[in-house]
Subunit: 358 residues, 2 copies
């Protein structure tokens, strides 16, 4: 039993509401296992812009770096949409990831039996889907240099660089192979090596690393085909490893298989000993912010991922996940996942249901 | 009535089989309208590698440039998969596109009522979907320089450049706005301008061009969100305009909504007066090549698109499209789109059915 320092970044929109629910659940689940959490709150995104003019202020960075793990809700909103890019909420998120070197973004897309009908895909296609997307998060075209604008032959040109070095691919590949070993032992590496040199390097390194994991069945897929197969036959996939922008696209697409963005957590992990970032896949939903309508379950499950991957507290994670399952089994639903025959509740009431199941 | 010079590139795998069917149908449909087609065949892709060592030989380039339009089947196969990239079939395709400056790739994703149940998505979600994806085809990260490999701090680095200049975005935007004017007057521009400078330029130019099309309702979407919305609510989309790699991904994803890759044609058009390229969206399917199992309908519909967009022969196009619809209405299906209660036929027999409906 110990004390765990959590940096809490509620962010914007529905962030504060779902954070409040998740922290109560986390505290209770921890107590049951004799674990204590100490929360230090700090602003990020739009909230930080309003407070300090900077979407990721130095003070927030310090809180995050001093923590054992960072629990982040969601950022952004219409209010800040017209700011220049460098000052927008998203930039705060990218700087947070980079400053913690949170290079491995794990995004599970699990179709819960209770929600299999919520998907726009046919039940028989998505039932039992359990995919883990491992996305490289601090490299690739998101951070590649050179980037920017120039003038050429009298017109403006915009450009970015998609770049990967061997060591970057190797470390994300290892995370993916390790994850595959703990799951179905199948790994699909997604790139566009029939066109891009950066993808050829990616593929070469993944093949090299695979020699250390002879038990894992490795396949390679072009990103266009992967976008197709995710819909055609999602059960083909166990673990997927891919670069930053391909992972951005594929993980959002995969999230739709589940029909319930409000249920999906994610983890962005760094080197051993450094804090990772745990956050829901969904956004800040400014249209329903402050109305007690948000689904807090992805945030509760993000806290569970934090316990499992970041704090090595699998029992606390189990408790949180079981409580979420029990809440669904009892028929409680927020509006986004409402189904006939279920009982619709708001964000706070869903929180109380989860607490009662803990 | 006139004579039209068609460069015919059967390519690899099932290419020759489906080409044979499409040419017969095209000749017959033309005859009925007093139009004559003259076909000049040339090798591309694997077939060209085997014949000349080059996936896009000079002789093929000359045939294409001298033609009124290029009808392409499909390229690639296992046989050439281990060649270095510069010598692979795909490279022939990329060079063909560049040499003709075929900058605007039009990919319709239409859910035919006869095939609405073939989709892995629920019927009510996809019924009536009619999306036109307009993909920039000769720029972006596919062709951007600098690109390649380098050594840095003792390790290999792979890199590519995603780049767009104003004039490139402007011309593809105009094609998309013109297409929207002829359809539902809604255009969605897809990019990642919250992260990439190249996408900010893209968005700026699209907004500028939109001033010339006040009737078209323009929206903007990030690529990750678009990949999600295509599954969540595909009916939102009318025309989509996007860059080369985003279009590669989105159009393949969209094709899956229809559940019938074997039905989807595409057009890649160049400046006025220059030949465009017309080809099915599906690949060369080497696993079923030469077995008379392929679905020739996407190829017939590609010939129809050629007549409509490339040769200004809308009546011939109408005839071909009606014949395909009639063949489906009569219950004939190739294996890929087979449904209970229908009659399964091979590639040649499907061709004869189409001919009989012309
Ligand atoms: C908000 C945006 C910068 C971010 C990304 O593209 O990484 C988001 O889409 C995500 O996937 O977390
Ligand atoms: C074969 C490949 C180079 C090509 C592309 O990526 O453009 C294909 O996927 C397509 O979409 O036509």
């Amino acid at each position: 039993a110990a004390t765990h320092k959590i940096a809490v970044l509620p962010g914007d929109g529905i962030g504060p509401e779902i954070t409040a629910v998740a922290l109560k659940a986390l505290t209770a689940a921890g107590k049951a296992e004799g674990e204590e959490f100490v929360y230090t709150e700090a602003p990020i995104g739009g909230a930080a812009i309003d407070a300090t003019g900077d979407p990721y202020p130095k003070s927030t960075e310090e809180v995050c770096k001093a923590a054992d793990a960072v629990l982040l809700a969601s950022i952004g909103g219409y209010k800040w949409d017209s700011l220049p890019n460098a000052q927008r909420p998203e930039k705060g998120l990218l700087r947070l990831r980079a400053s913690l070197n949170a290079f491995a973004n794990l995004r599970p897309a699990v179709v819960l039996p209770q929600l299999a009908d919520a998907s726009t895909l046919k039940r028989e296609v998505v039932e039992g889907v359990d995919i883990l997307i491992v996305r490289e998060l601090v490299g690739g075209i998101y951070f590649g240099e050179p980037r920017g604008f120039k003038e050429e032959n009298g017109e403006r040109v915009g450009y970015n660089t998609m770049v990967y070095r061997e060591s970057e691919v190797e470390r994300i590949a290892r995370v993916a192979f390790e994850a595959a070993m703990k799951r179905g032992k199948r790994l699909c590496s997604v790139e566009k090596s029939n066109v891009l040199e950066v993808s050829q390097l990616w593929k070469d390194v993944v093949i090299r690393v695979s020699k250390d994991y002879p038990e894992v069945e490795l396949s390679h897929m072009y990103i266009d085909n992967a976008a197709m197969q995710l819909i055609r036959n999602p059960k083909f996939f166990d673990v997927v490893v891919t670069g930053n922008i391909f992972g951005d696209i594929l993980s959002d697409e995969a999230s739709m298989l589940t029909g319930s963005l409000g249920m999906l957590p994610s983890a962005s992990i760094s080197e051993p000993g450094k804090p990772g970032i745990y956050e829901p896949v969904h956004g800040s939903a400014p249209d329903i912010a402050g109305q007690d309508k948000a689904n807090p379950l992805a945030m509760v499950l993000s806290a569970a991922m934090m316990c499992r991957y970041g704090l090595n507290l699998p029992k606390v994670a189990d408790r949180l996940e079981s409580a979420v399952t029990a809440a669904l089994d009892s028929g409680f639903r927020t509006g986004d996942i409402m189904q006939p025959g279920c009982k619709q509740v708001g964000c706070q009431e869903m929180g109380e249901v989860v607490l009662s199941k803990l």
